[in-house]
Symmetry: C2
């Protein structure tokens, strides 16, 4: 579908000629996702600088019947921020408003500000931001709000929705919601911020957010705990969940992933021997976090080795074994990335059987397991598969559905999982989703191929 | 508007003759709210026993064009659960489903279960429920979810929305949303639970909820802190907000309220002398909560006296000075109850000036101030006013709007504050509210006079 002739000129009127990109060389970085798995195409990238311009661009595109895909740092993992069906790209990276309230402990920022920038500003003001993730220096506030990003400290501070004190968004109806007052208590009507958070740009576009900050954690401790099996590690993760108040992360990986990380990154192994499964357990706060972590670890069964670190460099070294998984696996080719969640009592069963399930449906595939086991969330990466070969994806998500889990713990649905949404959602929920989509995007121009099939 | 002739017979077919009340003597307790301020009227109260019956009742009423007001324990404070315009009453108190998962730390309960029952079941299983409020033995899960109830421990555990892992609701479209799997991580589509929580029954009716439980707090300490003025108390509340991780409540009251409580309840005064303002500060958890509380109090200015309690009976005595405010004020006649929130830097100014603002517009009114000052939330009770005399209400809410606050920190809008909603909501937000209402209650039968004026 070619762009209507006059639309380009109208878009240039709104954002200026330099912010309407049509040169194929300029478009490339906007059409391929970070992992390299999702490759789309577009005729135009529009880069507004504020919410008024976003509203004007949306109005023009609604009038012309041209669909938009919003894009922040392009670090999404489910093909939700690249134009897989030739949509125009709405790049929000220039929305850089920045306002920190050190007394109230909150920050109001434009959609284009990176998570790393929020973290650094918070630290300078004596606070911290509760969301952290590997892509912190590319991922933006707009993208993490739109996808309700989780990350490494959900166990302690909750997901992005839990940080959200208010937002500004331009809706598919043309209405602009602007509620960034940052009041901690405001029980007046429908909770729009929670609704547009995690909507993946399908109801409109988030242009700014007010985020709560949290008290910094002067005391920090990290333990790498080796287990005699994955079942023991899964059971330990469930047990540690009860201690969530004093723990900030309970991360999981297995021997094959650790070996790959050490080989690719040139790291020394953490223990003299290899072990079947590992938990990286972190405590942080203002009290006796070392004592609390030690107490929590004593209750665990099946522990075969432990390394503890309190000093910053050694803590970073232990974290590196976990954080480098993504980068190490990517050296094997663009993986299929599934992120699923299981009920705590089924987590061990899933970890024990998922590899065989994959091999059965795709013998050439290799399964990599890691993730945020403390809340039942697991990243399942599959390598050795063609981008379009979804037999193994289907087998994994079918297993998840059978075990009562979720097909996405944190990455969202995007375009990648649209076909599986009905597997774990009842018809009543899907009907309510369709009601919301029709109501807030009546013209079907807001990321129409994401979350649900286009109407 | 009389009920259509055949509707009663059809309702009896669904729920049985004993659960369709039409006798005026039986109706009375359903038409007047707990505070006595909101007195409505109805021809019928319907009492279904499960969500299928709720759906069938709603279908019949949609067909007949008969509006429904949902009611739980009838402890709401804004006229949102009584039939102020002759609506039929949908009493949900018989929905008593009860299922506690001690491993996962969560509970799935029907709308009619009381908060007190949830708290007791949680305690028996080694857990606690994070929401507590004075009306705990009447207020229900359905009502507290529908109104996003706050209460005494929001500072520590968040409001009801923060406890909500899933819900079951019958929507005004006839669709039934049923997602009570209780997964901690599930990022698949629009967050329906957060949307229907706090919607005050205007989009449909909550029939069950899955609620997270929290670790119990073996260590507890309460301090009653007297200040030389309300400004000092407000500043202290803002400072303590930074320490929220170790504190579970920061409650506010003033000398006149304390004196009334002591007189009505026959309690001894906490200190030899009366002081202008008080904070009740509570710490609870598993660590050194006494030490943490002491540390937090040392940083405060303007403190003139302190009473500390660690033993259960004495802690309850200190709490009583705060909790008995509602009951003591009610002995003066049904008060106008406003609950507002202020930005932390404006809280002191509000507390200092609101009394004069009330007197100016209603010289006969008396102003009572107390509340959850730790998050900027204040209950403003006005006595000596006729139920319909809203001049003083208007003056208070206007002051709140001028100071950038919220006209409801936790009670909601109900029918009482419909006229003031536009005072603090921008047109774009109100348009989004109307979009939601039209989409999910197309026939306008779900609590149509609550939150916004009927279309």
């Amino acid at each position: 579908v070619p762009l209507p002739g006059q639309l380009l000129a109208q878009l240039i009127d709104v954002v200026g000629a330099t912010q309407v990109l049509t040169d194929p060389g300029q478009l490339a970085s906007f059409t391929t996702d970070w992992s390299g798995r999702f490759v789309g195409h577009t005729d135009v990238v529009v880069r507004p600088s504020n919410s008024d311009e976003v509203g004007a661009v949306l109005d023009l595109c609604r009038g012309a019947g041209v669909a938009l895909v919003p894009q922040g740092g392009n670090t999404g993992l489910v093909g939700g921020g690249v134009p897989m069906h030739g949509e125009a790209v709405l790049s929000l990276s220039r929305l850089g408003h920045f306002e920190l309230d050190a007394t109230a402990g909150q920050i109001t920022v434009g959609a284009g500000v990176t998570i790393g920038a929020v973290q650094r500003a918070a630290a300078e003001a004596g606070w911290a931001y509760g969301v952290d993730l590997g892509s912190r220096d590319s991922a933006t506030v707009g993208g993490t709000v739109s996808t309700n990003a989780g990350g490494l400290r959900v166990l302690r501070y909750g997901d992005t929705r839990a940080q959200l004190l208010g937002l500004e968004a331009v809706l598919g109806t043309g209405d602009v919601v602007r509620n960034v007052s940052g009041l901690r208590r405001d029980n007046t009507g429908y909770q729009l911020a929670s609704l547009f958070c995690g909507a993946e740009g399908t109801l409109g576009f988030v242009t700014a957010a007010c985020l709560r900050l949290v008290a910094p954690s002067p005391e920090q401790v990290v333990a790498l705990v080796a287990f005699e099996g994955v079942i023991e590690a899964a059971n330990a993760a469930s047990l540690l969940r009860r201690e969530a108040a004093s723990l900030s992360a309970v991360e999981f990986f297995v021997s094959t992933g650790l070996e790959l990380v050490c080989q690719v990154m040139g790291l020394a192994a953490p223990f003299a021997q290899s072990h079947p499964a590992y938990l990286l357990v972190e405590g942080q706060g203002q009290g006796d976090v070392v004592g609390e972590l030690a107490g929590a670890l004593q209750a665990l069964a099946g522990v075969v080795d432990v390394a503890v670190a309190t000093e910053t460099p050694r803590r970073a070294e232990l974290w590196r074994y976990r954080e480098a998984h993504t980068e190490a696996i990517n050296t094997l080719g663009a993986p299929h990335k599934l992120d699923v969640a299981l009920p705590p009592e089924r987590l061990g069963e899933f970890l024990r059987t998922v590899g065989a399930t994959v091999t059965e449906s795709a013998p050439e595939a290799k399964t990599w397991l890691f993730g945020h086991a403390g809340d039942g969330s697991v990243h399942v990466n599959l390598t050795g598969l063609a981008p379009d070969d979804e037999a193994a994806d289907d087998a994994v998500l079918t297993l998840v559905a059978e075990l009562g889990g979720s097909i996405s713990a944190e990455h969202g649905i995007g375009t990648a999982k649209v076909g599986w949404l009905a597997r774990t959602k009842a018809p009543g929920s899907l009907a309510a989703f369709a009601t919301l989509k029709r109501a807030f995007d009546p013209d079907g121009v807001c990321n129409p191929h994401v979350l649900m099939p286009p109407a």
